[in-house]
């Protein structure tokens, strides 16, 4: 079936469409449909939708007449893929726009420096939540990075046989643990020792650790793999023991990549809400001790303010959006920093 399609000559219709015909058609379709929807009073949403359908049909028909069936199909699929791509990007753009537009209303000094202690409606801030997120994620990182990096070293430098295969497989499986299950695990772990009423910041850290470790392992493994073997061999040839070779040669070479991976891992878990909702609880005042009682954090703050607003609800909703904006900015910063590090320091091993 494959052969027959390819061996059939293309030139059923002799002609060929002008360059950028697809774009041309889309522009014309957009203009006509725009005029039409203004005339009929349709919404912009409908306008975009019919523009998509019309330009797809128009490109296919034009090409079918001039270029023949196979070229027409090619063009139609190209237009379709681009349109679906745009369709997928629209909600995502809307999401970012909404968070920025709604979040700016309360993104002020009071929001960044105040807590919710004694706040009844207006005002208040997310300082306590931001600090909580910082501490909880920090503790999780401190726990997850050594374990993750060492496990990755085992997998790339030492591991062999069934144990290596088992660990590799279960690291993969671990990446798929639902975050709420990680939260339940942390809760169950602490509840057995401290009773079911326990809520601590560090419980959230344990849950995030479970989510972070496999991501760190993955990233580190990849980076250790690209360290050239010649570096290791040169080190061995100088009589350096294997463990020192790893610590002094392999790890420094891969360091930029590992740091990048860790930052991306932090970006992934910093917005986790579900595990923190059931482990850290929520609280209105600032608590900086992860081992003592409930601890606020940004994701849960956003959830609480949005889901259970008081009176008047606007103040709560606005705080929720401002919190969401702060979260997105944090994730974005981590992302850009990771990119920057990878770009500036990770050159030699990226070849």
């Amino acid at each position: 079936m494959a052969g027959s399609a390819v061996s059939m000559p293309l030139g059923e219709g002799a002609g060929i469409l002008p360059p950028r015909a697809n774009l041309l058609v889309a522009a014309v379709a957009a203009a006509t449909c725009g005029a039409l929807s203004v005339a009929l009073g349709l919404s912009p949403f409908v306008w975009v939708l019919i523009t998509g359908v019309v330009s797809l049909a128009a490109v296919a028909t034009w090409s079918l007449v001039v270029e023949g069936r196979r070229r027409a199909l090619d063009r139609a699929m190209t237009v379709l893929v681009v349109e679906v791509f745009v369709l997928a990007m629209v909600p995502l753009a809307s999401l970012v726009y909404t968070v920025v537009a709604e979040g700016l209303a309360r993104f002020d000094a009071e929001f960044l420096t105040g807590s919710m202690r004694g706040v009844l409606a207006d005002g208040g801030g997310a300082f306590h939540a931001a600090m909580g997120t910082f501490i909880i994620t920090g503790v999780a990182t401190v726990g997850a990075v050594p374990v993750g990096v060492l496990a990755a070293i085992y997998l790339t430098e030492y591991g062999k046989g069934r144990l290596k295969r088992a660990i590799t497989f279960f690291v993969d499986v671990m990446t798929g643990i639902p975050s709420i299950v990680a939260g339940l695990f942390a809760f169950a772990l602490f509840a057995i020792f401290f009773g079911p009423g326990i809520r601590l910041g560090v419980m959230g850290s344990v849950a995030l650790m479970v989510l972070m470790v496999p991501i760190v392992i993955r990233a580190t493994e990849e980076m250790l793999r690209v360290v050239p073997d010649s570096l290791r061999e040169a080190s061995y040839a100088l009589g350096v023991p294997k463990w020192l070779t790893i610590v002094r040669v392999v790890l420094p070479t891969a360091l930029a990549g590992i740091v990048t991976g860790v930052m991306l891992a932090i970006a992934r878990v910093i917005g986790e809400t579900a595990p923190l909702l059931i482990t850290t609880g929520s609280i209105d005042s600032t608590n900086l001790n992860p081992f003592d009682g409930r601890m606020a954090n940004l994701p849960v703050f956003v959830y609480q303010e949005y889901k259970f607003p008081g009176v008047p609800p606007e103040a709560y909703i606005e705080r929720a959006w401002a919190g969401a904006l702060l979260l997105i900015l944090t994730v974005l910063t981590l992302f850009l920093a990771a990119r920057l590090i990878a770009k500036r320091y990770g050159v030699e091993i990226r070849r």
Binding site: L73, V82, I167, A320
Partner: protein, 306 residues
């Protein structure tokens, strides 16, 4: 490489032990997750039916939740997979290089946007926007059980929850698909073109078959994520514990994860154990899906998503 000579040095032995210990710790943690969940779920499993919430048996309690979990994830996966393939094809084969670079960067970034933000966006923007559409669906296609209605006036429906889930897993699936599409051997692609195939024919005959198993596996990873996704569903759905295929009404089944997030902060005693037991069910379902996905992928380095 280093041979047994190096292995004997004490520093080497210690470091080897440390690394191996970290590896084994992973297995221990995973076993611990299962173990602690089981031990905390046991009281609910062994308790007499009369003591459980609403005096229902555990299976009766879990069933609507499992149904809601599977239904919302099914909507998500049906919507997300074709779009993810299109996005991946766009970045790997259609877009000019600078555009495709920035698009893949943006999709990676989107994968890290916290789910709670997807959730509040869903309820603030997508939900209200969906109301006229679902109303129209209920009016014209009400004979299909999926659109039976009456349409919700707030947009807090299963359909919207599924759509938000689809958006959330889209970056994961498309990242996996993009990597494998990019790995398609250049020689095969150029041969197809040289034989006179159009670009679409080349994609259909070379790229898609080459990437099929990875796309399936990536979709299952996305499915695993959708099954376990909590906050978006928690915040969007107005739940009432019914079992219905009606996607657009305001009466919706909850999902396991959302139910835990909603009930847990207010629960105590045996209710907590019941919730942990449902969490165990979720763990088992996602574990099965993920293990299947990993088996399909084998050990190809394509799945970088969570």
């Amino acid at each position: 490489m280093s041979g047994s000579e190096a292995r004997r040095r004490p520093g080497d032995r210690a470091f080897h032990g440390l690394a191996t210990g970290a590896g084994v710790l992973i297995l221990v943690v995973l076993a611990g997750v299962a173990g602690f969940l089981v031990s905390e779920a046991l009281p609910a499993i062994t308790a007499p039916v009369a003591d459980l919430p609403d005096g229902e048996s555990l299976t009766r309690y879990v069933w609507p939740l499992v149904f809601g979990t599977v239904l919302s994830s099914a909507i998500a996966i049906i919507l997300a997979v074709p779009m993810a393939i299109a996005v991946a094809l766009f970045t790997s084969h259609l877009a000019p290089r600078p555009i495709s670079m920035s698009v893949s960067y943006v999709t990676d970034l989107l994968a890290a946007i916290p789910s709670i933000i997807y959730g509040i966006w869903g309820i603030a923007v997508l939900g209200p926007a969906s109301v006229p559409v679902t109303q129209w669906l209920a009016d014209h296609f009400g004979f299909i059980p999926l659109f039976e209605g009456p349409a919700s006036t707030t947009g807090r429906t299963m359909l919207v929850a599924g759509m938000v889930l689809a958006l959330m897993i889209l970056p994961i699936i498309s990242a996996v698909a993009r990597e494998v599409f990019n790995q398609t051997p250049k020689g095969l692609q150029e041969s197809a073109l040289a034989l006179g195939a159009t670009r679409w024919e080349m994609i259909r005959m070379v790229v898609l078959p080459f990437g099929r198993s990875a796309v399936v596996a990536g979709s299952m990873l996305g499915l695993g994520r959708a099954l376990g996704e909590t906050m978006a569903v928690t915040i969007i759905l107005s739940v009432s514990g019914v079992v219905t295929f009606d996607l657009i009404s305001s009466e919706n089944p909850s999902t396991i994860a959302a139910n835990i997030a909603l009930q847990f902060p207010e629960s105590s005693g045996l209710d907590v154990n019941v919730l942990i037991a449902t969490g165990l069910v979720l763990f088992a379902i996602t574990l099965a899906v993920n293990m299947a996905a990993r088996t399909i992928i084998g050990r190809r380095e394509v799945a970088r998503g969570r």
